[in-house]
């Protein structure tokens, strides 16, 4: 009995203490003294680097909270409203969609700043011991699309796709449907390959986007394309154990694993820092931050955080050292102007 009473008393005491710390922290939903960022897992590592530098440079500030939710999931949170309950910045590995802007607007998030932080490339890679494939966007479309010519995709080997390629089974490890990388894959590689092969598709795209998606960017589900989850390190491991497979991931993973993997040239262009930054490589895509202008004055340190971001994205800067590809000079200048003058986004330019 005694022992039980002791336990009960101890738990009651602990609950009381927990309550005290709660009150000491106070505030809660009403106010917030740290920056909150949500969004793309591709932009996440760069934002974390800036956050770390921000904390080191500004003693006493609370460290920003950065959550990697994927671009789409982050947009939902970001557009949930204005106020301490909602994040200040959205990391995006693609531009905001018109529908997302409308959602933001409906919830009172009207003034949004759009800042391009740099570029990323979708790299295609094989193991060092692989056959040294050279592919085109058309090859990839024929190998990956669910129905490249109206019928279910029957290509079993790369030779079926293009007689110049080896008779090696098609095995591709790539991102899942929830990933921004998958969106970029559809947009940059499959849509281009589709339009190159079927020129009338450009017209279909204008008139009937649903039909275009069905015909061009839907990926086959018969096992040739394996959805490897959000973990890109897993794809790297799978490529090492299977030299015949092709992997698709963000360029920084290729850069970090250059001793194990070879990049596959697309349309004759190797995935390298130069080709991606000059926009020659077909798989290069811009990365963005979306910021709520209404939060700039309300959240302590948000302005400084953005300025530090702008100071970090130059060639030779800390973000580039960690795998970001710097945007061309004019784009960087424009983004810096947006940060300095707090220019908001014109919704007419959104896709």
């Amino acid at each position: 009995m005694h022992r039980i009473m002791t336990i009960v008393a101890a738990s009651a005491l602990a609950t009381g203490l927990a309550g005290c710390t709660d009150q000491a922290n106070g505030g809660g939903a009403g106010s917030r003294d740290q920056i909150k960022v949500v969004g793309s897992s591709t932009v996440f590592p760069f934002t974390t680097i800036v956050a770390e530098r921000f904390v080191e440079k500004t003693p006493g500030v609370k460290s920003p909270v950065i959550e990697s939710t994927g671009t789409g999931g982050g947009m939902k949170l970001f557009c949930g409203g204005v106020g301490a309950d909602h994040p200040d910045i959205e990391d995006a590995s693609r531009r905001m969609k018109r529908s997302e802007y409308d959602l933001c607007k409906a919830n009172g998030v009207a003034d949004i700043m759009e800042v391009q932080v740099g570029l990323d490339g979708i790299a295609f890679a094989e193991a060092k011991s692989g056959p040294g494939l050279r592919l085109t966007t058309t090859d990839l479309f024929k190998a990956m699309a669910a129905a490249p010519d109206g019928k279910p995709n029957a290509a079993k080997t790369w030779k079926d796709v293009n007689p110049a390629l080896p008779a090696m089974p098609i095995q591709i490890y790539g991102p899942p449907a929830t990933s921004g990388t998958r969106d970029a894959l559809a947009e940059l590689i499959l849509a281009r390959g589709c339009e190159a092969m079927l020129p009338d598709m450009a017209e279909v795209r204008e008139k009937n986007p649903a039909e275009f998606a069905q015909k061009c960017t839907r990926i086959r589900e018969d096992g040739a394309y394996v959805d490897a989850g959000e973990n890109d390190n897993l794809i790297v491991q799978k490529l090492q154990s299977n030299p015949n497979a092709v992997g698709i991931f963000g360029y920084s993973y290729l850069e970090e694993n250059r001793d194990k993997l070879n990049g596959i040239p697309i349309n004759g262009t190797e995935p390298t820092y130069e080709t991606i930054s000059r926009n020659q490589y077909p798989g290069s895509r811009p990365l963005y931050l979306y910021v709520k202008k209404a939060h700039l004055s309300a959240i302590r340190g948000l302005r400084e955080f953005l300025k530090l971001y702008a100071a970090s994205w130059n060639p030779g800067g800390p973000l580039v050292a960690k795998g970001l590809i710097a945007s061309p000079d004019d784009v960087r200048k424009k983004s810096e102007t947006i940060v300095n003058w707090e220019t908001t986004l014109d919704p007419k330019t959104l896709p």
Binding site: E52, N233, N257
Partner: protein, 420 residues
């Protein structure tokens, strides 16, 4: 008819009988071997898991450090010991170009490219040293700073040949050591694998588990007591019993969605906070505790209750003086199982935002926090290869936490255990 009434005596030497006997013995032996095989197989899996984790993870607990001689007296740092002793120390240190001074010192000591031997966060160690001992500013001092991750990998395992050569040279000059990384146990998440720590996630797990235990244990035990000792047996209590059993089998992600809808969207509790994580996991753990507690209470012999009533104890006295203490070992076993499951849980916590990058340990229950399994998940997805051993090291910390938690519960269980 007669043969049925008086059956022929069994002929033990009959070959058919001998064969049947041999078959029975063989079946017996086979079963024993199968059982032993099953035990050995599961033990083998455990050994493989532990050996692979230990071999990959122990490296995460040691760190390669490089000696960095810095002549603070002749550096261009605009700092003086008096400011560093005053209240503006942090601001002054942040404003001074310590990063530049550290790089310059590395180049002076190890030649061109010397700065690339050090971790990107090396200057923070210089800063911490200066803060601890401002008098360093007047003299020349040697600060041990973490090596860059490629040097770290080369010193511990196989690295690139060029890095191996650098390591050999530094070792010969006694300017490189590999020692226990206490920093890993004291600090939080970072972007550089040489600067990361597990304390933030460990503290997050501690806070979350505390909330889970404080809610799930009393509520679970009280519901079990009520259902077993007081509730009438009718259709309503049957319905409740079925619901609790079903709740125990619900996939954990569903509880995450529930937590998101109830605690975040309805009660507006802060996102990514330990209190929300603890509440969500408490919902998940409670049914497990209720079921275990009910079985333990059921197993207390009715004679104990009758005897207590017989000497005039009230129902509350019977329950708290006799039934509950005797049921406690069983209740604690159920609690261990429930808490162990909650400790390893990731899915529901992702839904409520506990997968964030947070560089400071949580100060309280409402602060943004992460927990050990989520930290492991985040590190496993990092680009930088230095994170591989940190991931395994974090798994070891999680296992140790789990063992410690179970150890406490087993100790308590043995103290309460009664045999009759």
């Amino acid at each position: 008819m007669g043969s049925r009434l008086t059956p022929a005596p069994t002929d033990w030497r009959d070959t058919a009988h001998q064969r049947r006997m041999a078959k029975r013995y063989a079946a017996e032996r086979r079963f024993r071997w199968l059982g032993l095989g099953a035990v050995l197989l599961s033990a083998g899996f455990l050994v493989v898991l532990l050996v692979s984790m230990l071999s990959a993870g122990l490296g995460g607990f040691v760190q390669t450090q490089i000696a960095l001689p810095i002549d603070f007296a002749h550096s261009r740092l605009s700092l003086d010991p008096a400011t560093l002793r005053g209240p503006g120390a942090d601001l002054a240190l942040a404003a001074a170009d310590l990063g530049g001074a550290t790089d310059a010192a590395a180049i002076a000591a190890y030649g061109p490219g010397g700065d690339s031997l050090l971790s990107d966060g090396a200057w923070t160690r210089v800063r911490d040293q200066l803060k601890a001992d401002p008098s360093l500013l007047r003299r020349r001092a040697t600060v041990w700073v973490p090596a860059a991750d490629r040097i770290d990998i080369a010193a511990k395992r196989e690295g690139a040949p060029a890095d191996e050569a650098i390591v050999a040279k530094l070792k010969a000059a006694h300017t490189l050591t590999t020692s226990f990384n206490a920093f890993f146990l004291r600090s939080s998440d970072a972007t550089d694998p040489t600067m990361v720590g597990i304390w933030g996630a460990l503290k997050g797990s501690l806070l979350t588990m505390a909330v889970t235990l404080l809610i799930a244990f009393p509520v679970g035990v009280l519901s079990a007591l009520y259902l077993e000792e007081y509730a009438p047996h009718n259709r309503w209590t049957d319905l409740i019993e079925v619901s609790i059993n079903n709740l125990a089998a619900v996939p954990s992600i569903i509880f995450g969605l529930l937590g998101l809808a109830v605690f975040l969207n309805t009660f507006h509790l802060p996102r990514s906070a330990a209190i929300v994580g603890g509440l969500t996991l408490a919902l998940m753990t409670m049914p497990v505790i209720v079921i275990a507690a009910r079985n333990a209470i059921k197993a207390v012999p009715p004679s104990i209750r009758d005897a207590a009533f017989g000497v005039g104890a009230s129902p509350v006295q019977v329950v708290f003086h006799h039934v509950l203490p005797l049921a406690m070992p069983g209740i604690l076993t159920g609690t261990i199982i429930g808490m162990a499951r909650a400790l390893g849980e990731t899915a529901p916590l992702l839904m409520i935002g506990m997968r964030a990058f947070i560089t400071a340990p949580p100060g309280g229950l409402r602060d943004p926090a992460t927990v050990l399994p989520v930290q492991i998940f985040l590190w496993s997805d990092q680009v930088n290869r230095g994170f591989v051993e940190k991931t395994s090291a974090a798994i070891l910390v999680l296992l140790i936490f789990l063992l410690a938690m179970n150890g406490v519960a087993i100790y308590l269980r043995n103290r309460f255990e009664t045999r009759w």
